[in-house]
C-alpha cells in the first residue's frame, strides 16, 4: 500500500496542480461564453502573451514590478481584444464573432512569432513558489501546492462576487437578457468588459503558475493548456463556473493518472476523447443548463 502511494503520489500532486491551472483558464472561457455565447478562441493565446510579458519584463525589472505589470497588461489585452474584435459585432450573427475570435487567436500567435523569433524562452524563476519541497515520497515545486489552494481561493472570491455584489447581479442579468438589462439602466458593454477583465486576470495568474512548472515559453506553448481548459469548460457545462473548475481538476488528475499507468503518449488524446464522448452523450456537460436561446 505504502509502495502504491509512494509510486503514485507525484502524479496525483501534478494532476491536482495542473488541474488548478486549467481551472484558472477555463473560467475565462466559461464566463465569456455565459455572457456572450462566444467561445473566445483567443483566450489561450492571451494566456501565452502573459507568459512572454513576464519573460521580457522580468529581464529588465524586479519581480515586484514585473509581476503586477504582467497582470495589468494581460487584463488590458483582454479588454482590447473585446473592444476591437467582438464589440463591433455585438449584433452580428454568432458565427461572425466566432470567426473573429479565431482571427484574433492567429493574430496573437503570429505576433508572438514575429516579436520573439519563436525560440523557446526560459520563464523567470519566481522565488518561493519555484522552490523545491518534498512531501512524503514526492519531490516537487512549491507551485504544485500553491496552485490548488490559490485556485480555490480565487474561485470562492469570484463566486461571492457573482452572487453577492451589484456587478455580479448585473452579470447574471446580462447573461440572460441583454435588452431587459439595458432597460434596467445597466450598461451592458461595461458588464461585458468586466467579464473579460476577470477572465484575463485569472489567465494571467494561471500563466504564472503554469509556466513556473513548465518553464519553456514558445508562441504555441499556451495552445495545449488553452484547449484542455476549453474541454474542461465544456465537460463541466459551459457557462458554469463550478463546472469549469471541477472539469479542470478531473481532466488534470485523469491525465496524470494515465501518465502514471505508463501511457504518457495518450494523455492528451484522452482529454479530447473525453470531449467527443461528452458532446455525444451529455452536450450540456456536468452542470450545464439546458440550452435556452436568448429571445
Amino acid at each position: 500500500m505504502t509502495e502504491f502511494i509512494s509510486a503514485n503520489l507525484p502524479y496525483l500532486l501534478a494532476g491536482i496542480s495542473v488541474g488548478g491551472q486549467y481551472a484558472l483558464i477555463a473560467i475565462g472561457y466559461t464566463m465569456v461564453y455565459g455572457i456572450l455565447r462566444l467561445i473566445n478562441f483567443a483566450h489561450g493565446d492571451i494566456f501565452t502573451v502573459a507568459a512572454y510579458c513576464m519573460v521580457y519584463m522580468n529581464a529588465t525589472m524586479p519581480l515586484y514590478i514585473s509581476l503586477p505589470l504582467t497582470i495589468v497588461f494581460t487584463v488590458a489585452l483582454g479588454l482590447a481584444v473585446e473592444r476591437v474584435a467582438y464589440k463591433p459585432l455585438r449584433d452580428a450573427p454568432r458565427m461572425s464573432i466566432m470567426i473573429s475570435a479565431i482571427g484574433v487567436s492567429y493574430l496573437l500567435q503570429n505576433l508572438m512569432w514575429y516579436v520573439t523569433g519563436g525560440l523557446a524562452q526560459q520563464y523567470p524563476t519566481i522565488p518561493w513558489i519555484s522552490s523545491t519541497i518534498s512531501i512524503y515520497t514526492a519531490t516537487t515545486k512549491m507551485v504544485t501546492l500553491v496552485t490548488p489552494v490559490l485556485t480555490l481561493v480565487l474561485v470562492v472570491l469570484l463566486v461571492q462576487l457573482i452572487k453577492h455584489t451589484k456587478i455580479g447581479m448585473a452579470m447574471r442579468a446580462v447573461s440572460r437578457d441583454f435588452e431587459t438589462s439595458r432597460l434596467m439602466g445597466i450598461k451592458i458593454n461595461g458588464v461585458i468588459s468586466v467579464t473579460f477583465a476577470i477572465g484575463s486576470f485569472l489567465a494571467a495568474v494561471g500563466s504564472m503558475l503554469y509556466f513556473s512548472n513548465y518553464t519553456a515559453v514558445t508562441p504555441t506553448a499556451g495552445a495545449m493548456p488553452g484547449l484542455k481548459a476549453f474541454v474542461a469548460a465544456v465537460f463541466g457545462g459551459i457557462g458554469s463556473i463550478p463546472g469549469a473548475v471541477i472539469g479542470a481538476f478531473i481532466i488534470g488528475i485523469a491525465e496524470n493518472i494515465i501518465k502514471a499507468l505508463g501511457w504518457t503518449a495518450f494523455s492528451d488524446a484522452f482529454t479530447f476523447a473525453l470531449l467527443i464522448v461528452i458532446l455525444i452523450f451529455k452536450p450540456t456537460g456536468l452542470f450545464g443548463e439546458a440550452v435556452h436561446e436568448k429571445v
Partner: protein, 253 residues
C-alpha cells in the same frame, strides 16, 4: 406642458418604415394608451422612447428635456422605465434580486430598502416569495414582479408593453386595477395594449396607431364610442353588448 412630448417620430428597421412620423403627448398623472393591430408600430414607439432603437428623425421631449439621442441608461435615469412585453423578469435571479436590479442606477441603500418595502406593500405575494427564483413564479406573479421592478427605479413615467398578454382574465383585471392604483399615486403611464377595450376603459387619453401612423385620437371614453374604433378594434365588445334583434347602436356623437 405635458410630461412626454413626441413630435414627428420616424423609425425604420432595415429599410422598412416602422413609424412614419407620429406625434403624441402624455400628460402628467394620466394613463395614455396606444392601441392598434400587431405590427402597427406600438412596441417600436416604446423602444424608440427607451433608446433601444435609433430614431431617424423627430424629437422626444421628457419634462422639458430633449432625450432623443440619449442612451437607454440615461433615459432610465431621467425617470422613464419600461415594463417590457412578455414580462421579461430575470428567471435566474431571485424575486428580491429582480427588484434590486430595478433600482440598479440608485445608490442610496436606505432608499432602495424603502422602495422594496413600497413594492412589497403593493404586491404582498412578492414579499412572500422574495427568495424564490423569478422563473418559478406564475405568469400573473411575474407581471407583478415586472411592474414592481419598474417601480424600484422611482419612475416618473412607466411604459407598459402589453401587460395583459397571455394572462388569465381574472389576472388581467388585477393588472388593470394595479395600473389605476399607480395612476392614483401620481405615476404617469403610457400603456400599449391589444386588448383595446380594457385599455381604453382605463385610459384618460388614447391614440390609434395604424401601420406606423396615428389615425385617431381622443379621450378614452370617446374612442370607446367611436364607430371606426369599435369596428376595427372592439369587434368582440360590440357583439357582446348588442343582443340579437336589438336596436342598432347609435352613431358616434
Amino acid at each position: 406642458m405635458s410630461l412626454l412630448n413626441v413630435r414627428d417620430l420616424q423609425v425604420s428597421y432595415g429599410g422598412i418604415e416602422a413609424l412614419k412620423g407620429i406625434t403624441f403627448k402624455v400628460d402628467r398623472g394620466q394613463i395614455v394608451t396606444l392601441i392598434g393591430a400587431n405590427g402597427a408600430g406600438k412596441s417600436t414607439t416604446l423602444r424608440a422612447i427607451s433608446g433601444l432603437v435609433p430614431v431617424r428623425t423627430g424629437s422626444i421631449n421628457f419634462d422639458g428635456r430633449e432625450i432623443t439621442s440619449l442612451d437607454t441608461s440615461s433615459i432610465v435615469k431621467e425617470g422613464i422605465v419600461m415594463v417590457p412585453e412578455g414580462r421579461r423578469v430575470f428567471p435566474n435571479l431571485s424575486v428580491l434580486e429582480n427588484l434590486k436590479i430595478g433600482a440598479y442606477l440608485r445608490r442610496d441603500q436606505a432608499e432602495i430598502t424603502a422602495a422594496t418595502e413600497y413594492v412589497y406593500e403593493r404586491f404582498p405575494i412578492l414579499r412572500e416569495r422574495h427568495w424564490q427564483l423569478a422563473g418559478t413564479l406564475s405568469g400573473g406573479e411575474q407581471q407583478m414582479l415586472a411592474v414592481g421592478r419598474a417601480l424600484m427605479a422611482r419612475p416618473r413615467l412607466i411604459m407598459m408593453d402589453e401587460p395583459s398578454l397571455g394572462l388569465a382574465p381574472l389576472v388581467v383585471r388585477e393588472i388593470f386595477s394595479i395600473i389605476h392604483r399607480l395612476r392614483d399615486e401620481g405615476i404617469t403611464i403610457l400603456l400599449i395594449e391589444q386588448n383595446a377595450n380594457a385599455a381604453l376603459r382605463a385610459a384618460d387619453y388614447g391614440y390609434v396607431l395604424e401601420s406606423g401612423s396615428i389615425t385617431i385620437e381622443g379621450a378614452g371614453q370617446d374612442l370607446l364610442n367611436n364607430q371606426k374604433v369599435r369596428d376595427a378594434y372592439l369587434g368582440q365588445a360590440r357583439k357582446r353588448k348588442v343582443p340579437a334583434g336589438a336596436m342598432p347602436l347609435p352613431k358616434e356623437s
